[in-house]
Structures are given as structure tokens and as C-alpha cells.
Symmetry: C2
Subunit: 131 residues, 2 copies
């Protein structure tokens, strides 16, 4: 995790939003706010197999993300990195952990039956920080 | 402004952050949180002539942006659009208006002398909303 300055690594475990930028089918940028978890090496994001975002990430693994400190909007981190893997998560473990982190609920309340959840593992390669 | 649903057009004038995704020199995504103003047709962003972000936007005008409602993080808008123009702003009018909006200051307090401010005009073409 050399890419993340110690001064801002707390943002990886706080309840901020990761604004995740990926590339669409024509190489155009797309960006979405998502929940995330940090495992010490990767930012983990939960999505579903059939979403546009997942297709984008499988086609071209180059991503960027920005996170504002929820306690101080003049403090933030921007990362650039790559998707190392997109793994099936049939028990929905990650989204349930994220529901605990963000909603204090044991189970993510808004999924359809058989949501085909996947875990996207993003490895930061560079970071810029402010504040 | 057909691209912006009426249900979420308030987000264009609230004090949220626009997480602006652009394309770097190799077509890779980059994303930065920025202040913004809505003029009825364009999202206006202030930056400086020499920054990477400005060079990105001049090279390839395809952009995306996401804005969380500062009062409700489960409500947001994602836009995709294009840069219609990048205009010199030698009096720094836009950044001073943004300082008023976000800081309640008449003048942006953090610029260097001769900052070479520019106004980036982004025209939304599509929007997705949540919440």
C-alpha cells in the first residue's frame, strides 16, 4: 500500500463515498458513487454481474476514484488504479458487510432475489491528496 | 436542459461536490471533486490553464460527473456530457462566485498571483438519478 500516504489512509476505512470512474464502451468516462471496504491492499466494491459498471470494469480495468472526508470536505484523496479481479460473491458477503458499515444493518435490505453479486478488487497505483 | 430530470435539478444549485471524471493522456480515467455552478444549460467549473485536468478536458471533451445530495447521501445524480468551451477568466469571476457559494467569502482566498483561471463549460447529455 505504498500508493496511499499514511496521512490520508484513514479515508480508506471511514464511511465516505468512493466516486468510482470507469470507461464506457467507447472509452468515455463514467462515474458512480459507491460504498467500499479496504482490505489492506485493495478497495473492495460490491456490484452485480449484469450492471454496466461491471461490464466496463471487465473490459478495461483502469479506474480512478475520489473520496471526500465525510467530516471535512476540504480533505480528500484521489486514487488511480486497476481492477485485479471480479469474483462471484454468491453469499453476498461483501454487500452485507457494507450494509453493516454504512447502515448498521446485518443484511443489505435492497437486493432482488438472486442478485448475482460480485466483488471488484481495485488496487491503487497512485494517489493525490488534499488537506 | 432536457437531460436533467426535474426531480433532481435542485442538485445542480445546491452546495454539493461534483466528482468530475475526465480522460488522461492514455485514455485512462481520472476523477476530482470540484465546486460547480449551474447556468441553466452548463455546469461551470473553475480551474487553471496549466493543470492536468484542463489539459485533459482540452484534449478530449468527454466527461462524467456525480453529485451526492449533501443532505441525503442516498440521493444523487450522475451526468455524462461534453465540454463545450474552456474560456479564460482573467478577473477570476467564477472562482470568486464559487467562493461566495461555498465559503461565503467575496473573494477566493487560496489563489496564487496570476492564477490563469479558466471557466470550463460542461453540457450534460444524459443523466441517471437515484433516490
Amino acid at each position: 500500500m505504498a500508493a496511499i500516504p499514511d496521512s490520508h489512509d484513514d479515508l480508506l476505512t471511514k464511511n465516505g463515498y468512493l466516486h468510482l470512474a470507469s470507461l464506457g464502451p467507447s472509452g468515455e468516462p463514467q462515474v458512480h458513487p459507491v460504498w467500499y471496504e479496504w482490505d489492506g491492499t485493495h478497495l473492495l466494491v460490491s456490484t452485480t454481474r449484469t450492471r454496466q459498471k461491471t461490464k466496463n470494469l471487465a473490459r478495461d480495468g483502469r479506474v480512478a476514484g475520489s473520496i471526500l472526508d465525510p467530516d471535512n470536505p476540504y480533505r480528500y484523496i484521489e486514487i488511480r488504479g486497476v481492477v485485479d479481479s471480479i469474483e462471484d460473491d454468491p453469499p453476498s458477503d461483501l454487500i452485507n458487510r457494507l450494509a453493516k458499515k454504512y447502515l448498521n444493518e446485518d443484511k443489505y435490505p435492497w437486493d432482488t432475489p438472486d442478485p448475482q453479486r460480485v466483488i471488484v478488487k481495485i488496487r491503487p497505483e497512485k494517489a493525490n491528496v488534499m488537506g
